[in-house]
Amino acid sequence: MSEQLPPSGHAIALVGNPNTGKTTLFNALTGLSQRVGNYPGVTVQYHAGQAQLPQSGKAQIIDLPGTYSLSASSPDEAVAVDVLLGQQAGAPPIDLVVAIADASNLRRHLYLLSQILETGHRVVLALNMMDLAHERDVHVDIDALSSRLGIPIIPLTSHRGTGIDDLIDAIDSSLQQDRPQPTQTHLPRELIAVADELCQGDDAPVENSVEALRVLVDVDGHLEQRAIATGGQPLRLRLAELRQAVSTDEPLSSVESEARYAWISDIVANTLRGDEKLRPRRSDQIDRILTHRVAGLAVFILISATTFQGIFTWSAPLMDAIDGLFRQLGDSAGRLISEGPLQSLIVDGVIAGVGGVLIFVPQIAILFLIISLLEDCGYMARAAMMMDRLLRFCGLSGRSFIPMLSSFACAVPGILAARAISDRRDRYVTILVAPLMSCSARLPVYVLFIAAFIPDRPVVGSWLGLQGLTLLAMYGVGAGVAIPVAMLLRRTLLRGESTPFLIELPSYKWPVPKVVLMQVYLNSREFVVRAGSIILAATIIMWALAYYPHSTQITDDFDLRRQTAEQFPKKTRVDILKAIDHAESTALLEHSYLGQAGHFIEPVVRPLGWDWRLGMAALASFPARELIISTLGTIYSLGGDADETSQDLRSALRASPGADGKPIDTPVALSVMVFFALCAQCTSTLAVIRREMGSWGWVGLSFSYMTILAYVGAFVVYQVAEYLGWGAGGFG
């Protein structure tokens, strides 16, 4: 789904290093008009919004990904270069660039600025965090710097909102002026000449000198690969020659960096004071504890535990409310619409489907709230650093931490978060392994089966019982299996060296409510719209499979039974009628395509200890895990309203026969839970994987490996548990 940026007014690109308050500035300029979409043809997001300028009118602000330099190491950054050069499909040509820099770290920020100035765009520099610079005794002579650079410079303190109006005025007046000449920035003449040579001629592999420079300097980079895709081996050889012509002993990246920092030293010579010494900052003190090998880890575990606890307990009231609301809706619709396929479609398909999606929103919103708070205050970078060791062991890196963490609520936003991982192989492995993290939708399955089959026995005093331990174990199964899978992928399909780990630790700061809430809103919306629409569609399809073929003979039979129920006194009649209703649902379900499929696959699931009912429920869950509970409820004649806390459902399960005809017990429960822990039962996740990885092959791989793992895991668990005598009351 790629949305075109609506062409309206001027196009302004917003660029800057990460952690510069760019998001805050973007929010201040665009507010709720923000849109997130995809550039056509690439799996990179754009963020754009509208702003109104006093003189120039409507403007579209495009927030480019935070980057330290235009040397595109990730697809995100490559798109930034393309957008700036007006070469990105779906993005308008840029009229002005707002560069945002951190006043207390100016030199490094001028690196990116030097590259931007070479593009020949109108540029306005927003010098942010002036308050911090002042605290650290760093002084910038703004007028002098402005005249050295030849561009307007506006001091800002974006988290307080000061300077924004001045910035808008500066943007306004710059837009009224002509484009400037590209600035020369101390790059060696040979390098410039070679870049120019590369973009000359009708069949030149690149169109302008800025792109040519990137192709030459960023060896094996994204832009070089793209040029070689058309230019082939001759271009590869030519590039090698041209590089040699500039420098034989140093790589060009080194030549570029030294040249630019020489230019920067020149620029700041009389305009920047106070940054000569290395100063400590308050965050260093905090980091002594938070990144300490022992204390830091303890804090991290505490925060993680609180996060998990929070997701599940704080969301409960809201989830109950949503559940209640949708039950009401279902009941009302049931009364309003007459009996028949339409009523069933609306009540059991649409309303149940929408409710089934929205009920997870509280958990997802809370997880994103916590992640957003941790990111905005600066802690996430430290967490990524500490997790790097463990993730390294699995073949990944600390950068995969947030996607994995998010996947514990829902894999869809987790996989989308993997876009921030610049290394392609790391990103792919993260995406393939993230769905193994037990998401919110698996929890009802665990709750139901643990409550029904695991005795409530204390293990660690009154603090941790067998039930809690089993729950923890289920979460551990997913994460534990992820490790060898990631290692295997990294050694086979996605082999290769990964990007070295380098992460900046920003100063700790108080999170900005607007930024955090905006993130929560955008991510939750992403879940509802993206994942939700697919889950709804899948629910409706599953409804159809469970409804048709609708046997009138069965309904006639049950109507007969209802007639005989009339002879009972009113009090018992209501219960009997209800029981007849439920029995009818069960019979109809067994008769449906889904029921027939359940019987058909029974031989396959017998080694797992399941009977056709559990097999059918598992099948029903393939489009969306959430469906198992209501399906089980229907099979056991409790109506589709039964949920995981229903005592009736628990008793029904305990009485239900397993593969050997005897009532199912702990081993079967364990095998069901392990199956659900590992199986790929989510069409929206598969859809997102298709988008992010670009081909159905990866989707096929993801689905197959997880389903096979789930089957084998369930089989092993069942057989071992049976062998250990955990069935038939012998558990523990």
Binding site: N105, R136, V138, D287, H292, M385, D388, P500, L502
Partner: protein, 93 residues
């Protein structure tokens, strides 16, 4: 290395004046002497302003180093830094 060193072990009377970044002691200013040529980490370090002659300080040692340059703090894996050479800041006369 067992993690963050608290207090320097009393080994030598004279501290080495030059070493790999991965072995440099904590809380002690250093000048970058050389960066290896072609590897990706060095290219990124250079973009971030860590060039021969830059003043840095190691704030954390262990499996990950935290290096201060200017006002920024960068976290790196210790083994990735082994080719970066740093030396003591020459005393000002």
């Amino acid at each position: 290395m067992l993690g963050v060193t608290i207090g320097e072990p009393q080994k030598h009377v004279e501290e080495p004046s030059e070493a790999c970044l991965s072995d440099w002691r904590r809380d002690c200013d250093a000048i970058v002497l050389e960066l290896p040529g072609g590897d990706r980490l060095s290219a990124r370090l250079r973009e971030l302003g860590i060039l021969p002659g830059t003043l840095i300080r190691v704030l954390r040692t262990g499996a990950h180093l935290v290096v201060q340059t200017g006002d920024a703090r960068l976290a790196l894996r210790r083994e990735d830094c082994s080719a970066v050479r740093v030396g003591a800041v020459p005393a000002v006369a």
